[in-house]
């Protein structure tokens, strides 16, 4: 096991870490496939209201790459297709039947999987709607099955701080996971498995498969951060990555021939000890977090997710919900309070003296100002970028300069925006610039 040296990151602890028990949620009445968490998709819908679908029936595909289909994780009737502004597809909602049927895909036995050729496996994965689990850095778009990646990173942790613990979803699944790794080795010569340092104990059966150990601070387990710290040459920039849970799903699809629908998810909320949840893909948000108030903002990942509407459904890639408090009371003389209970990475509040988990709320805690060049963003960036200079280069429309300074090495962890005392939306600016650059390149 090789140690990845990431020193910078978010060292403060936050309240609301889920515990390690698992609760199975009851079957919901509706289920949906969301298009909002799929990168760069231009969907074309294959069903209409009232159509009957099975588990594994395609609901829509990506116009840029018609092979990549998004399959239905439940059997029932298409209830409604939700569009947003400018007719952007939000989600396809399916009302579930009591009894559900599967679409049968081609399956392989364990032995056949070992000897099957790569193209065959790729075909099964594409047909089975799970190829898109493999994503390509730095833009995080869907991997191109026609090329061989320089390396594949298996991230046992998803992006968020409170993402599902790999020890739970990998429990008793060691053999499947190993099959998954052998499958990835067919696609790429080099496969990297990275695990958090304090997860190693729970991952003991897998220890021989773990190649890299990463320190236990956010966002060290972000594939962008891992890649930045292990890459030696520029070819490795376009590495692929897949999360541990998705890898298991891929193996299950190939072995059973059925589209797998179960996931392990977490819901985190301040002052609320929540267990891990066994859910189905695309469950309604309300069934995961039933007691939502008016003062809650729901996100799929508080650092790098998206805001989820309370009456919508979980996305294909999303297994975490963070519920953040909305502050309604303006604090009297807030800027000068000693702040014993404020979450901060700076040394300007008394709370930095105690090692207590901090509160999280979705307020900016201040107004936007011009950058004062304090380099707080550089101090915290896990990939050692200089976000203030990159931001200024982008502000001056100098994309070349920004790329030189490593814009594409940005792992979208959001810590620069988090720490900025001037409240500049650095992460958002970078994400926009990276997406624009990616679209331009395509």
């Amino acid at each position: 096991m090789e140690k990845v040296n990431i020193f910078k990151g978010f060292k403060t602890r936050l309240k609301g870490e889920p515990d390690l028990s698992i609760i199975k949620l009851p079957k919901p009445s509706t289920i949906a496939v969301s298009a909002l968490d799929i990168p760069f998709i231009r969907p074309r819908i294959l069903v209409k209201d009232g159509d009957k679908v099975k588990i594994g029936s395609p609901l829509f595909y990506d116009k840029q790459n018609p092979d990549i289909q998004y399959l239905c994780p439940g059997a029932g009737v298409v209830q409604k297709i939700v569009f947003g502004a400018r007719r952007r597809l939000h989600e396809v909602v399916v009302q579930l039947f009591e009894k559900e049927y599967h679409v049968e895909f081609e399956s392989l036995t364990k032995k056949a999987l070992g000897t099957a050729d790569t193209q065959k496996i790729i075909d099964i994965l594409i047909k089975g709607g799970l190829w898109q689990c493999l994503r390509r850095l730095p833009a995080r778009d869907t991997a191109d099955p026609k090329i061989q990646p320089p390396l594949i990173i298996v991230c046992l942790n998803e992006n968020d701080m409170f993402a599902p613990h790999p020890g739970l979803y990998l429990e008793n699944e060691t053999s499947f996971f190993e099959l998954g790794l052998s499958l990835l080795r067919k696609i790429s010569k080099r496969v990297v498995v990275a695990a958090r340092k304090n997860h190693l104990e729970k991952l003991a059966p897998l220890n021989t498969n773990i190649t890299h150990v990463i320190p236990d601070l956010y966002p060290a387990w972000n594939p962008g951060a891992i890649l930045f710290h292990i890459k030696k040459t520029a070819d490795e920039n376009n590495a692929w990555y897949v999360t541990g849970q998705h890898l298991l799903l891929m193996v299950k699809l190939i072995l059973t021939g059925h589209y797998p629908i179960e996931r392990i998810a977490t819901v985190s909320r301040e002052n609320d000890k929540k267990p891990h949840l066994l859910i189905r893909q695309g469950m309604p948000v309300k069934s995961l977090a039933p007691s939502l108030g008016k003062n809650d903002l729901i996100t799929s990942g508080m650092f790098s997710g998206r805001i989820i509407a309370p009456d919508s459904h979980m996305g294909f890639f999303e297994n975490t919900l963070n519920i953040l408090k909305i502050k309604n009371e303006e604090e009297f003389l807030g800027f000068i309070r000693p702040g014993t209970a404020k979450t901060t990475v700076s040394n300007t509040f008394l709370s930095c003296l105690f090692d207590k988990p901090g509160q999280a709320d979705c307020d900016t805690h201040g107004e936007e100002r011009a950058c004062i060049n304090c380099a707080c963003c550089h101090r915290i960036c896990p990939n050692d970028l200089m976000p203030n200079f990159i931001m200024k280069a982008l502000h001056g429309d100098d994309l070349e300069d920004a790329l030189d300074m490593g814009l594409l090495d940005c792992c979208n962890c959001g810590l620069c925006s988090y720490t900025c005392p001037c409240k500049i939306e650095l992460a958002h600016i970078f994400q926009d610039a990276m997406n624009a650059y990616h679209k331009d390149k395509e």
Partner: protein, 386 residues
């Protein structure tokens, strides 16, 4: 605090839209946000944000200036007493000092705030907190006897030319407080020269007393002997019972402020450490190779460190993040060169007895270049990703 909130809510309509006082909206907004920390929900990733904002950031610089300001007031009063031949006790010194210093600070704030509001109104942006620091730093660099209209002109120049022409706090290349001081320094040398006029109670004319840096030894005396003859022993310089600009005299109080800024990481330690290293290095070089025993060449690093405004400048002026470089390596160089130029100007330039202000302003101009070089160097070390 409900009543205060109600007052703000009620008067808001006068200051916004077509209200009578809509032009002063920036002032209203600034006052309101001081009392009630504004709420703004995050719209983009990450959805939680650090509690530190610019208001708190700048307020912490103000807090670090409190010891210096209080001692400055006391020392001014004490000096004034000495000037008229009376030894004042603590409270009296403080009261007399306030009589001189408080008006200077008030004028600086009021006039500076006027320009801030004017520009905020025209440009439709909010009043930036950076001004809080400028408005206090500038008076602390002045002698207590400065005429108030010069304070007003100085802060106007600092705010307009030093900051607003570039677009406000965050976009300036020079430290506005030092720009203001440089303006007064070059425009009204009589008020600002090395000879500090010690205020004299009641009498029309004061008596003059040199700051330590203006001391030069007579005959065969060494500079150290001359300094202690004039009452500038190292101990006095450390505690600050010497004539000088309001805020610069007490090394002890400055170190208190420096400690606070370093612990809270508001100021970058690299600039301060680099500056002190540069000063000590240069002072030693001059000490070893200098010839004239009666001048500051032979004063040695400790005297160079404690006398004059170097510590004040490197702690509060050079660490202003806007005008200092933004990369760590450049900060070391920046600090070191400030120390180097301070000593060089002190000993090698007969026109200026004090070099800190010029050294910092000079390096402010070079800060973007240092940053550029460091960034280019770092870029060349990266694995390219295009």
């Amino acid at each position: 605090m409900k009543w205060l909130k109600r007052i703000f809510d009620k008067s808001e309509k006068h200051f916004s839209g077509s209200g009578k006082l809509a032009k002063a909206h920036a002032l209203f907004d600034a006052t309101k946000t001081v009392f009630f920390h504004p709420l703004r929900r995050t719209a983009f990733i990450p959805f939680l944000r650090d509690c530190l904002d610019l208001k708190r950031y700048m307020t912490f610089v103000l807090i670090s200036l409190v010891p210096v300001t209080i001692f400055g007031i006391y020392n001014t009063g004490y000096r004034a007493g000495l000037g008229s031949g009376v030894e004042l006790d603590l409270l009296d010194s403080f009261l007399h000092g306030s009589y001189y210093v408080i008006p200077i600070i008030l004028v600086s704030y009021v006039v500076g705030l006027f320009w801030e509001i004017l520009f905020a109104g025209i440009r439709k942006h909010k009043i930036s907190e950076g001004f809080l620091v400028t408005g206090l730093l500038f008076p602390l660099t002045l002698p207590a006897t400065i005429p108030l209209w010069q304070v007003a002109l100085g802060i106007s120049f600092g705010v307009i030319i030093g900051k607003e022409v570039f677009g406000g706090t965050g976009r300036n290349i020079l430290n506005p407080a030092l720009t203001a001081r440089a303006f007064v320094y070059f425009s009204y040398p009589v008020s600002m020269s090395g000879e500090i006029w010690i205020p004299n109670l009641g009498a029309v004319d004061g008596m003059s007393g040199a700051t330590p840096l203006a001391v030069a030894a007579q005959g065969n005396q060494s500079i150290l002997a001359a300094l202690s003859d004039m009452g500038f022993a190292l101990k006095n310089l450390f505690w600050g019972f010497v004539p000088g600009s309001i805020g610069e005299t007490s090394v002890f109080c400055i170190v208190l402020g420096m400690f606070f800024l370093l612990v809270t990481r508001i100021a970058n330690f690299r600039i301060i450490a680099g500056g002190i290293a540069g000063l000590i290095f240069t002072a030693i070089v001059f000490y070893l190779f200098g010839e004239d025993p009666g001048s500051w060449i032979k004063a040695g690093p400790l005297y160079h460190l404690f006398a004059g405004s170097f510590l004040f400048g490197i702690t509060f002026m050079a660490t202003d993040p806007v005008s200092a470089p933004g990369t760590n390596e450049a900060r070391w160089i920046f600090g070191f060169l400030i120390g180097f130029f301070t000593v060089t100007i002190r000993v090698a330039n007969p026109a200026f007895v004090e070099g800190t202000m010029l050294a910092i302003l000079f390096m402010n101009v070079f800060a973007p270049l240092l940053d550029h070089m460091v960034v280019k160097y770092k870029v060349s070390k990266r694995i390219p990703n295009v």
